[in-house]
Symmetry: C2
Subunit: 248 residues, 2 copies
């Protein structure tokens, strides 16, 4: 790993601790990150000066300056621009939850989503980070990533009873199936009672931009309906997005 700035690292640690609570005081944060109050205090003051945190009668919380940066980061992605309309269409047509994710530094990030009227509610939100391996869409991405890259990511995983896959071989087999099928069907559910399917978004050059997924209750997403009807709808949409990304 290359050299980093310790002060920045501390800043990020404090930010992360603050993110995990709605709001917090200096003492509470100092305890959480195991640093002197005075240190935490100057960092918070610096953050506040630049609107990255807000102070309301002595309690700190995340500022909306992050929203500014976050939206610009998202709007800069061609994938987002092209996918958002299609995601809305697909969620309305299927009446289920539809998500568009992308890969960044080996992790999955939710770019945007849409929900039909009867769609399930989950704790997922735009901007959320997750492991590629845990999501239907993430597996679809992983399965289609070029080889030096894919192994780099997989090397970072720990297999075992905690993981969704017991060992590396099982994962590779699953990914191979997903690649040849063109779609990932989550039979082993990440969340209990929820099924999901995911398909990769790839342009004509083979570059993997991300994936789309449809999630719904197991009693609706099963059998022929998922394997044929829904899969075709999903693949049609990801295909369309892929083409638009090629000739943008």
């Amino acid at each position: 790993m290359s050299k980093t700035v310790k002060s920045d690292e501390r800043l990020f640690t404090i930010m992360e601790a603050l993110k995990q609570r709605e709001e917090a005081g200096v003492t509470e944060l100092a305890k959480a990150v195991d640093l002197p109050k005075s240190s935490v205090h100057v960092h918070l003051s610096t953050l506040e000066k630049h609107d990255f945190v807000v102070k309301e009668n002595g309690r700190y919380s995340l500022g909306l300056r992050f929203l500014d940066y976050g939206m610009i980061a998202r709007n800069g992605r061609e994938l987002y621009d092209i996918a958002k309309v299609k995601v809305d269409e697909l969620s309305e047509k299927t009446d289920e939850q539809v998500w568009c994710i992308t890969e960044e530094n080996g992790k999955a990030i939710y770019l945007c989503g849409g929900s039909g009227e009867h769609a399930i509610q989950t704790d997922t939100y735009v901007g959320k980070q997750a492991e590629l391996i845990d999501l239907a869409g993430g597996r679809a991405i992983l399965a289609n990533l070029p080889e030096p890259r894919r192994s780099e990511i997989i090397d970072g995983y720990e297999f075992g009873p905690e993981s969704a896959f017991s060992d590396r071989e099982t994962l590779i087999e699953t990914l191979d199936t997903i690649r040849s099928d063109g779609i990932a069907l989550n039979t082993e559910h990440y969340v209990k009672g929820v099924n999901a399917i995911g398909a990769p978004i790839i342009d004509n050059t083979g570059r993997v931009y991300g994936a789309l997924s449809i999630a719904g209750p197991t009693h609706r997403l099963k059998g022929d309906f998922v394997e044929n009807e829904l899969s075709d709808l999903l693949l049609g949409t990801t295909n369309e997005i892929g083409v638009n990304l090629t000739y943008k």
Copy 2:
């Protein structure tokens, strides 16, 4: 101003410079912020390690980690949660652009927006920061802010030919009118060809949460239609949100 961490300040300067371009190299950024390449480089490495920037073949750009923080900051606001549905409804009903803004550190921040099919296109985006004084919604907020607070913000303004108001008195007069009217009608347009109206969102305790605004082309937003029909629609919505915020 209280003490701050210089390293953090530098970090923010680099982030800001990066935000203003789609992507950039180390040398370009170093020139922009007037710092040695090596300094910019370690800060970027630190940012990259935490997913706040992404490096793609030597060029840096904002990472999606900001989206994570930004969405959590936004979702934590009760105003957003309650307003977003109403904003969508209102934009559909009026077929114009509708925005919900809030105030943070004396500045306006766009929380969410909706657009009718025939709505105008502007360079506004969710998360964008603007001066309260420049927006119809911002003036509606300013007009209803409690007194010690309002003056603090106004004290930060510079009046003159550059500003929308020539002097402090003119602004105060306008704000008084807005407060008694309950609505801000932008006759002097912030953007040429665009008219806007704004109304504050206030709960029963008098706390100002933000404002809603409707923007559209001058040829559609004029005369009786704006002053009666649209105004009533807007006030009805902000009223509703205010009540919901009281009994949440």
